[in-house]
């Protein structure tokens, strides 16, 4: 069954290896992240490797769809995967939720039973998930599942810390950063993890390569409290969990929280309105990188954050 997007792949930048999947929160709540992603790719000189996926929709959000109907969740996720499949791209996500949702979906689609079920549904929208045909070094023709990547993983493993380090123009010397990884970064699925879920290092090392100091704090790998529908259902409960997290971070003397997930960011940022604690700004990892790479802080959309980061901006945001 020919896909309706075939026309697109011709005019789209098919040379791009990666398709950028922003998800829902980044464009609709923190557009600054979207902006900083573009800045980073430009400053690192690798923007021709990346392209937007204009047809992409909600991943869909696992806390709602995976929890209420796995079939619908898998079909909707497979629809997005089909788009990446037609574009022959790796799907790069910036959100732990999208990352986990897609990774889980590719894993489940390796089950022929589920694949058949999903393809029967996708037939209605003229799509079919097969995976991307490739030829192995031994010359065998195989269908490879869509590669789902977290942007942190792409930065660390594909682009490399050295390239980031050499592109830094505003070294964040003396900035104490508390890294919050988030659960679905550490444990996206039952089978796959990007790195050791007990001792993750990639975000810490990226932060360090920007010149900042990633500080250790108690229960660093704990949950922000928002995921799985908790924030939507019992907002107080999510706040109570976040409070513990924030307390540990404040006690460790951090200036800033950095996370690779916009949903954790949303929770840790907005929850501070409700809590009587010292306020501490929360950044997405891309925002911090953009800042260090010399992005204009006035055009990073930091106004969208509940907790202002004026102090950090005035200290490190040397305008270019």
């Amino acid at each position: 069954m020919a896909s309706i997007w075939v026309i697109d792949t011709k005019d789209a930048r098919t040379a791009a290896k990666y398709g950028l999947f922003y998800g829902c929160i980044i464009p609709n709540r923190y557009p600054g992240i979207e902006r900083s992603i573009k800045v980073i790719l430009e400053k690192l000189g690798c923007n021709q490797l990346f392209s937007d996926i204009p047809q992409a929709t909600c991943c869909p959000v696992p806390g709602i769809f995976y929890s209420s109907d796995k079939e619908t969740w898998l079909a909707l996720a497979a629809r997005n995967l089909c788009i990446a499949q037609d574009r022959k791209q790796e799907l790069v996500t910036f959100c732990n939720g999208c990352f986990s949702s897609f990774l889980m979906a590719t894993e489940q689609l390796s089950d022929p039973k589920k694949l058949g079920m999903v393809n029967r549904i996708l037939k209605n929208v003229f799509m079919k998930y097969t995976g991307i045909p490739r030829v192995t070094p031994e010359g065998r023709r195989v269908l490879e599942p869509i590669k789902v990547r977290h942007f942190v993983d792409v930065l660390y493993r594909d682009i490399g810390l050295e390239s980031i380090k050499s592109a830094v123009v505003n070294p964040l010397k003396g900035l104490k950063v508390a890294v919050h990884y988030g659960c679905h970064y550490l444990r996206p699925t039952e089978r796959e993890c990007i790195e050791d879920p007990v001792n993750p290092i990639m975000v810490d090392e990226i932060v360090a390569s920007l010149g900042a100091e990633s500080i250790n704090y108690e229960n660093k790998l704990d949950c922000c409290g928002a995921g799985g529908g908790v924030r939507s259902y019992v907002v107080d409960l999510a706040a109570a969990i976040s409070r513990d997290k924030l307390m540990n971070i404040i006690n460790a003397g951090a200036d800033l929280i950095v996370t690779p997930c916009p949903y954790c960011l949303l929770q840790l940022d907005t929850v501070q309105e409700r809590l009587e604690l010292t306020r501490i700004p929360v950044f997405h990892i891309t925002e911090l990188i953009a800042l260090a790479l010399g992005a204009d802080p006035r055009r990073l959309g930091l106004e969208a954050h509940v907790v202002p980061a004026d102090e950090i901006i005035s200290k490190y945001g040397g305008t270019k």
Binding site: I4, C24, P31, V125, G225
Partner: protein, 190 residues
């Protein structure tokens, strides 16, 4: 003496628990099968060691200890389990620690499936599903963010209008095909 005794009984009475013993009628042994059908895994493997509760961010803050939920499933206390609130961050910490190799987070997901089918979906599921069906995205954009996007030099609309209507059509078709619209009770028009 008699007076004091009487008072003791009255004052204690208010503090007495209303609880009654759990009886056989409440235990639905087929519930375990229903959970397995929904992909929740075998709850019988649980040793009740409590490791999951110890790592669970929600168990610390509420009365719903995850270990208790598993125990209730083992006993088949369906009504009690289904009436516990929909609170699990699906952080999978429990799965990571579980020595029995069980995945309590998947159990919760299966229980949610049962709740949605038997008691109806909670309101936020309906509203977010509606968003996805109408906007293609889970959250609605505010005017403030629209302005901000323009200011920082991004496309004003996050979702390119050229692709949006087709994408939404796809989503609705998929939802109709899986019966999601009926399950959640959202109106997709025709």
């Amino acid at each position: 003496m008699g007076h004091a005794k009487k008072e003791f009984i009255i004052s204690e009475k208010e503090r007495l628990l209303e609880e009654v013993p759990i009886v056989d009628e409440e235990c639905d042994r087929d519930f375990i099968k229903a959970i397995i059908e929904m992909g929740g895994g075998d709850v019988q493997v649980c040793l009740q060691c409590g490791n999951c509760t110890g790592v669970c961010p929600v168990s610390l803050k509420t009365e719903n200890k995850i270990r208790n939920i598993i125990k209730m499933c083992q006993m088949g206390l369906k009504e009690k389990v289904l009436s516990t609130p929909w609170v699990c961050a699906t952080c999978h910490r429990c799965y990571e620690h579980c020595p029995a190799g069980m995945n309590p987070a998947e159990l919760i997901v299966a229980l949610r499936h049962i709740v949605v089918r038997e008691l109806g979906p909670p309101p936020f599921v309906v509203s977010i599903s509606n968003n996805v069906a109408n906007l293609g995205q889970a959250i609605e954009i505010s005017d403030k963010i629209l302005d901000l996007r323009k200011k920082i030099g991004l496309n004003e609309k996050p979702f390119d209008e050229r692709y949006r209507s087709k994408a939404i059509m796809d989503i609705r078709t998929i939802m109709r095909a899986t019966g999601y619209d009926k399950l959640i009770g959202i109106d997709l028009g025709d």
